[in-house]
């Protein structure tokens, strides 16, 4: 065989290998709820969702041993599963921290005091607003001492003994998924509509699911008076409708105008940061809801996904 055909052969082998390796992923992709996955911007989020979905199916159909084998293939992406029994929060399996296995973790809290198991149970039961049961908590990794934000998604499973449990996996770091603030705002709106003013204290509490990363819920009325201030200043007297960002855009005024004709809206807020040459952006999601007999605007903001090449 002449040497000059060698590069062609190598390329053909490379292509064939890629196709074969992708076959298992192709089978999974066809079974996924792709429309839900397309709500997310980051590939790591989509990968985590697919992995947890597949992990739940493997555990349900083939058991823990098969799940452990599957988990080994996901180590490259730093994904570890955990399985808990719902009734007594017994840890059936924990891929990242084996010291937790067979421990009951009913009162487990994170660095900010969030009751993790409660948050997971709440998320799993909120199938309308949070179908993937996202939970954010802040604690150190097993091999570290510094707390880091972990964002995990969950699925319900039925354990070997017939009891209800859940499987989850998470990713570490700040992930600017717009879907997270949407879930948070929708949940806050339902809570405020059902419980009124008494819900506000809980919504502002660091132990609630509404505070994660640097995101929190803010509330203001259509006249621009803040009820929970976006700058987290207590008793702030500023009229939010007059707030102007660095590009002379009035985000809160624009939101109030858009919510007069629709139930939800997205907007942007731009600001300068000493670490960056370019203007940085926050994405804002807002909905209107009833607080007592008053209509208010509920929102949250998160860093806009930043292109790698856009410094």
């Amino acid at each position: 065989m002449k040497n000059k055909y060698m590069p062609c052969i190598v390329l053909i082998i490379f292509m064939a290998t890629s196709f074969i390796l992708s076959c298992s992923d192709r089978k999974d992709n066809l079974g996924q709820r792709n429309s839900d996955i397309n709500n997310y911007d980051y590939k790591r989020t989509k990968l985590l969702l697919k992995t947890v979905q597949k992990g739940a199916e493997i555990f349900q159909n083939e058991g823990l041993y098969a799940l452990k084998a599957y988990e080994k293939t996901q180590r490259f992406h730093d994904i570890y599963f955990y399985i808990y029994r719902k009734s007594d929060e017994l840890c059936i399996y924990h891929g990242e921290d084996s010291t937790k296995i067979n421990l009951m973790v009913k009162d487990q809290i994170d660095f900010l005091g969030k009751p993790i198991q409660n948050l997971i149970s709440e998320a799993l039961s909120d199938t309308i607003n949070n179908p993937d049961a996202w939970v954010h908590f802040n604690w150190p990794r097993p091999d570290n001492i510094f707390p880091t934000w972990k964002t995990a998604c969950h699925r319900k499973v039925v354990l070997k003994d017939g009891s209800e449990g859940f499987i989850g996996a998470g990713m570490y770091g700040y992930i600017s998924e717009k879907e997270f603030i949407k879930i948070s705002v929708k949940k806050a709106c339902s809570l405020m509509a059902s419980e009124g003013d008494s819900s506000l204290e809980y919504i502002q509490s660091p132990q609630s699911p509404f505070m994660f990363f640097d995101c929190f819920i803010f509330v203001y009325d259509f006249n621009g008076n803040s009820i929970i201030d976006p700058s987290y200043k207590k008793n702030s007297k500023i009229n939010l409708l007059l707030f102007r960002d660095v590009t002379n855009h009035f985000p809160f005024r624009s939101i109030a105008e858009q919510l007069k004709v629709s139930d939800e809206t997205w907007n942007m807020l731009q600001f300068t940061s000493p670490e960056s040459m370019n203007i940085r952006k926050k994405v804002i999601y807002c909905r209107k809801t009833k607080l007592g007999n008053k209509e208010v605007i509920v929102g949250s903001m998160i860093d806009a996904p930043q292109a790698t090449w856009f410094k």
Binding site: K4, P7, C8, L11, F14, M15, S18, F19, L21, S22, D25, R26, N29, L30, Q32, N34, I37, N38, D41, Y42, K43, R44, L47, H77, G173, Y174, I175, S176, T247, N248, H249, W266, N267, M268, Q270, P274, E275, S276, M277, N278, I279, K281, A304, P305, Q306, A307, T308, W309, F310, K311
Partner: protein, 447 residues
């Protein structure tokens, strides 16, 4: 590069079949890099209809600009194969202008930037002494280096920072790049000539094979009209101007001019390698056409376009440097602007395929720059000019956070390696040759 290596020279019209495919190859590269308008619309939370219209209008302007560059009518146009694309130079400022004043302000400022570029064009021929071969080489090399972050973000399929790389993306990018490069090196005849077109096509197919969920992106294609005139949501006669944005747009216009200057010089080097020094006349004509096209993009509400380093690099790779290829490619891109399905396809082209295609094209740009640097005997002064300007310009890529604390007026110069390398190379060259200038002046005074 020796003259006898060129396949189709500047004024030669290739055979019709080759002309169509060579132009198609150039047009495909223009189309693949036209993803920036789609990203712009995403940044401003625009809908898919606006995205398609915006991309379409930008394609139309790119096409007109590419055609104008190919002609050389009374000092307008360079007469080189140097097509226009929507590049990242104006991206952040255009966004800022949009948020401040919507389309009217963005359009007004882009028109202003184009006018500045047109005003600079006639002065270029007086700046010959500022651009000796070593400075030209540094500029041309950095034209390619400055877009490496954009290329590699696409190569790895990771559009956002803190996102992961998937093996499918990297595999597709490596395969596409290897295929294009192999065809360029070992291919014969049409395989060598159309290496980029073949590579992009096969790479795209591989991507769809190994990530079948991507096929869902094409589901909406039949619902888009086949032929349509793009409609933009603004009053054509409403144009605004902001004194606050004047200085940043002035600087970015200068940077755009420098980039176009570098591209045109590279195109000249590739087209007429026998020239020992730069012929400023076609360069000035090219800058004029580029400034006009930038203003036209503002007028039509498109993203600002300028000359494409990738396409010049592709011409160097394929040795087909006929300006008619650029003109026909411009016509193809202009016509593509009236086909919304093509605009939609552009916004969903796999990023790894774009990254691989651009990587290949930029290689030739960077090497052309280095060849220019080493085409003259390097004395201590020239080594200092090249070395220092390259090192400090690369700093802006490696540690951009160091420059974040500079005053805004200086930040724009150090925002990318092209502007910083050009400014430094010019200043250092003049500084290190002050003794020569002094001797010349003294001689003239004595006379």
């Amino acid at each position: 590069m020796e003259k006898n290596e060129i396949l189709y020279s500047q004024n030669q019209v290739p055979p019709i079949g080759k002309l169509i495919f060579l132009s198609l190859q150039q047009a495909v590269l223009i189309l693949t890099t036209s993803i920036l308008p789609a990203i712009f619309i995403k940044e401003i939370s625009g809908d898919i209809g606006l995205s398609i219209s915006f991309v379409s209008v930008t394609l139309i302007v790119s096409g007109i600009g590419s055609i104008l560059q190919g002609f050389k009518i009374k000092g307008f146009g360079s007469g080189y194969l140097c097509p226009n694309v929507c590049g990242p130079s104006y991206f952040s400022l255009s966004l800022q202008a949009f948020w401040m004043g919507g389309f009217p302000l963005m359009r007004g400022m882009v028109i202003f930037a184009g006018i500045i570029e047109m005003a600079l064009a006639p002065m270029v021929k007086y700046l010959r002494n500022l651009f000796p071969p070593v400075v030209v080489g540094v500029v041309v090399a950095n034209v390619g280096i400055s877009i490496i972050p954009l290329i590699f973000a696409n190569f790895c399929g990771s559009p956002y920072s803190s996102d992961i790389m998937l093996w499918q993306d990297v595999t597709t990018a490596i395969f596409t790049l290897m295929l294009i490069t192999s065809l360029n090196i070992w291919g014969k005849g049409n395989f060598k000539l159309f290496c980029l077109l073949i590579g992009i096509t096969v790479g795209w197919l591989l991507y769809l094979l190994i990530i079948p969920s991507e096929n869902l992106n094409y589901v909406g294609l039949p619902g888009i009209p086949l032929l349509a005139i793009p409609k933009m949501p603004f009053n054509f006669f409403e144009l605004h101007f902001s004194w606050g944005l004047m200085f940043p747009f002035l600087i970015i216009s200068l940077c755009g001019s420098l980039k176009t200057f570098g591209n045109l010089v590279a195109a000249q080097k590739i087209t007429t390698p026998e020239l020992t020094e730069i012929d400023m006349k076609p360069i000035a004509g090219g800058l004029w056409a580029d400034g006009f096209t930038t203003s036209l993009s503002g007028l039509m509400g498109a993203m600002a376009v300028d000359t494409s380093s990738g396409n010049v690099g592709l011409a160097a790779a394929t040795k087909a440097v006929s300006r008619w290829i650029g003109i026909v490619a411009g016509v193809m891109v202009l016509v593509a602007g009236f086909f919304p399905r093509i605009s939609l396809l552009i916004s969903i082209i796999p990023p790894p395929v774009v990254g691989a295609a651009l990587t290949f094209a930029i290689v030739f740009m960077v090497i052309t720059g280095f060849q220019e640097i080493f085409s003259v005997k390097l004395d201590q002064k020239k080594i200092a000019v090249v070395g220092l300007s390259m090192i400090f310009s690369l700093c802006t890529q490696f540690v951009p956070e160091l420059f974040a604390y500079l005053p805004k007026s200086l930040q724009i110069i150090f925002s990318n390696s092209l502007t910083s390398s050009t400014v430094l190379a010019i200043l250092l060259y003049q500084f290190f040759h002050l003794d020569n200038a002094y001797a010349l002046i003294s001689k003239k005074v004595r006379l």
